[in-house]
């Protein structure tokens, strides 16, 4: 005879949390959701205020580079053109230059702090780097304006002379002082602390047994770092670089101080023209008419979306490359 046994249906497993646990759960949930709420409110606000301009300009808002508004004596808008293309290119270009310069410096300094520096120097340098992170950005801007700009001209000329065959480094007239290159260098210095401290943190978590395994195989320190520390820290370093990129894209005052804001798409990093979205907003905000303010809000929304996109891409990269080294 065939005996049939049916497996029982899985039980529903429940628990009755204590009152204190329930309260704590609500408190942390509120904390966790607050950033989401704040962010959505800001997005809704920007979209609401910028909607009119976005509808009027359509795709031209991100493809054209004209920014002008004409009003009659009564203050009514006669004609207006708002296009962000030059500012978007400038935003990406300056931030990219900043990361390209800052990343190797930051990784090197994180490696030095973790694996080469004596203890007393490490403590001192970590304090200095943290201080650098808290430094007001206007001071970086002023430093860039007074110190970096005069000398940058010299370096830019050298770059142009020797590497002028690379399209982005070619300039016809020497108008280099207020160029994306200078802005990129200032931004690089601003984002070095954050990339350094994120990298330092991930490098310091490298499992000791792997470090010892490498040394026990006769590895030099650099060999050990290449085989163990860098694969382990790679995703964290990329994450740090993206944080730095985000900060560089949103930076306002420092860029405003050292960059010529010109409404013309400029890929030549040594040429004194460009600007970024944030510096456009600060340039125009003070004297803008109500309608232009709406355009600036829309610009803010676009910057916000751009930042989100960069972060999403960074997340993807971290997920794709992160696992193998861990």
């Amino acid at each position: 005879m065939l005996s049939m046994t049916t497996a029982p249906a899985p039980r529903e497993i429940t628990t009755q949390p204590r009152r204190s646990d329930r309260i704590f759960r609500r408190v942390v949930t509120a904390g966790g959701l607050s950033s989401l709420v704040i962010l959505s409110l800001i997005t809704i606000f920007l979209a609401y205020r910028g909607f009119e301009v976005l509808r009027q300009e359509g795709l031209r808002f991100i493809t054209s580079s004209q920014w002008s508004i004409t009003t009659d004596d009564a203050g009514n808008v006669v004609e207006s053109h708002f296009g962000l293309a030059a500012m978007l290119v400038g935003t990406i270009l300056c931030a990219f230059i900043a990361v390209v310069i800052a990343l190797p410096i930051s990784v090197a300094s994180a490696l030095f702090l973790n694996f080469y520096s004596p203890q007393w120097l490490k403590k001192f340098l970590v304090a200095v780097i943290d201080m650098m992170a808290a430094f007001p950005s206007i001071l970086f801007g002023i430093w860039g304006f007074l110190v970096l700009m005069p000398s940058a001209e010299y370096w830019a000329k050298i770059l142009n002379h020797h590497l002028g065959f690379i399209p982005v480094l070619k300039i016809a007239p020497y108008v280099v002082t207020r160029s994306p290159f200078v802005a990129g260098v200032v931004l690089a210095i601003m984002i070095i602390p954050i990339i350094t401290s994120v990298s330092r943190e991930v490098f310091s978590q490298t499992p000791l047994d792997r470090i010892q395994a490498a040394y026990a195989l006769g590895a030099t320190r650099w060999g050990m770092i290449k085989a163990v520390v860098l694969p382990y820290g790679r995703s964290g370093v990329i994450g740090g670089a993206m944080l730095g990129l985000g900060r560089a894209m949103g930076e306002t005052v420092a860029v405003f101080t050292v960059l010529n804001i010109v409404f013309q798409v400029n890929w030549h990093i040594l040429l004194g023209a460009g600007g970024n979205v944030a510096s456009l907003i600060i340039l125009k905000f003070g004297e803008a008419s109500p309608y232009e303010i709406k355009a600036l809000m829309a610009a803010g929304l676009v910057l916000f979306i751009l930042t989100l996109m960069v972060n999403a891409i960074a997340d993807l990269i971290v997920k794709k490359t992160g696992k193998s080294g861990r």
Binding site: D209, L217, G223, S324
Partner: protein, 254 residues
């Protein structure tokens, strides 16, 4: 085969005197087991042999470690060369997770910038000697993390063998493994001892009895760890000279 001797080894961690005056000769081609309760300085001792001790900040040592008569702590010694000659296997299997099985085995060559003529032969030889070849020969491209704990430990042994060390130090290599894997590794150790000198730290008395030719019993009675007795393994287990050794190997304390 190289001879290895420790002469009057002391070790400190900061002010803490961890190890006192250990002198031991490891004859070429033998297996020496270090036994003793936790905290008696066995691991500290073998880490002084290949200069891994100095990675711990505040660690200090005194005495000499002679590899073929030359002090490995002599000024001007290239420590990476020492560690190539004196390999090490750790308590917890620690393959490099970013590398495949094959890359793991050959990683030492890259790390130490050594050149070999035929990597495939070396790869097979090392895995064969570590008793892992049959299990992994069809998946050398898989990641090391995909192996079981026992296989990972044998992978680590193969990795240590690839740089052709004269001496192999094993710091409780089986303490994280099940009995079956432990047995496989013990077979491997017996095999390897035909061609190299092995020093193994173990908490497992049967293991010491099974694999080693000589056994040293370490003990710390409150003060720094010291060596109570060193003798051929069968003597340590059948007629120890010291009462404390007898108590320990018969399971009366520790």
């Amino acid at each position: 085969m190289s001879s290895l001797s420790a002469r009057g080894i002391h070790a400190w961690f900061g002010k803490h005197h961890a190890l006192e005056d250990i002198s031991l000769d490891f004859a070429p081609g033998t297996v020496t087991a270090l036994i003793g309760p936790s905290g008696c300085g066995k691991s500290t001792f073998i880490r002084t042999l290949n200069r891994m001790h100095e990675f711990i900040p505040s660690a200090a040592m005194a005495g000499e470690v002679l590899l073929d008569g030359k002090d490995v702590y002599a000024p001007g010694t290239d420590v990476t060369k020492i560690r190539l000659q004196i390999g090490m296997v750790f308590q917890k299997p620690n393959p490099f997770p970013s590398m495949t099985i094959g890359e793991n085995v050959l990683s030492g060559l890259k790390l130490a910038q050594l050149k070999v003529d035929n990597k495939d032969d070396l790869l097979e030889e090392c895995l064969e000697r570590a008793g892992l070849w049959k299990e992994v020969k069809d998946r050398l491209g898989a990641h090391g993390g995909s192996l079981s704990g026992g296989q990972q430990q044998r992978l680590c042994i193969a990795r240590a063998l690839a740089v052709k060390p004269q001496v192999l130090l094993m710091d409780e290599p089986c303490s994280a493994l099940d009995p079956g894997s432990t047995l496989r590794i013990e077979e491997t150790i017996r095999h390897l001892s035909e061609s190299m000198t092995i020093v193994i730290v173990t908490h497992n008395m049967q293991q010491a009895a099974r694999v080693s030719d000589h056994t040293a019993f370490f003990l710390s009675d409150g003060g720094p760890g010291h060596m109570v007795e060193f003798a051929p393994t069968n003597e340590i287990f059948s007629r120890p000279k010291d009462k404390r050794t007898e108590d320990y190997v018969t399971g009366r304390f520790g």
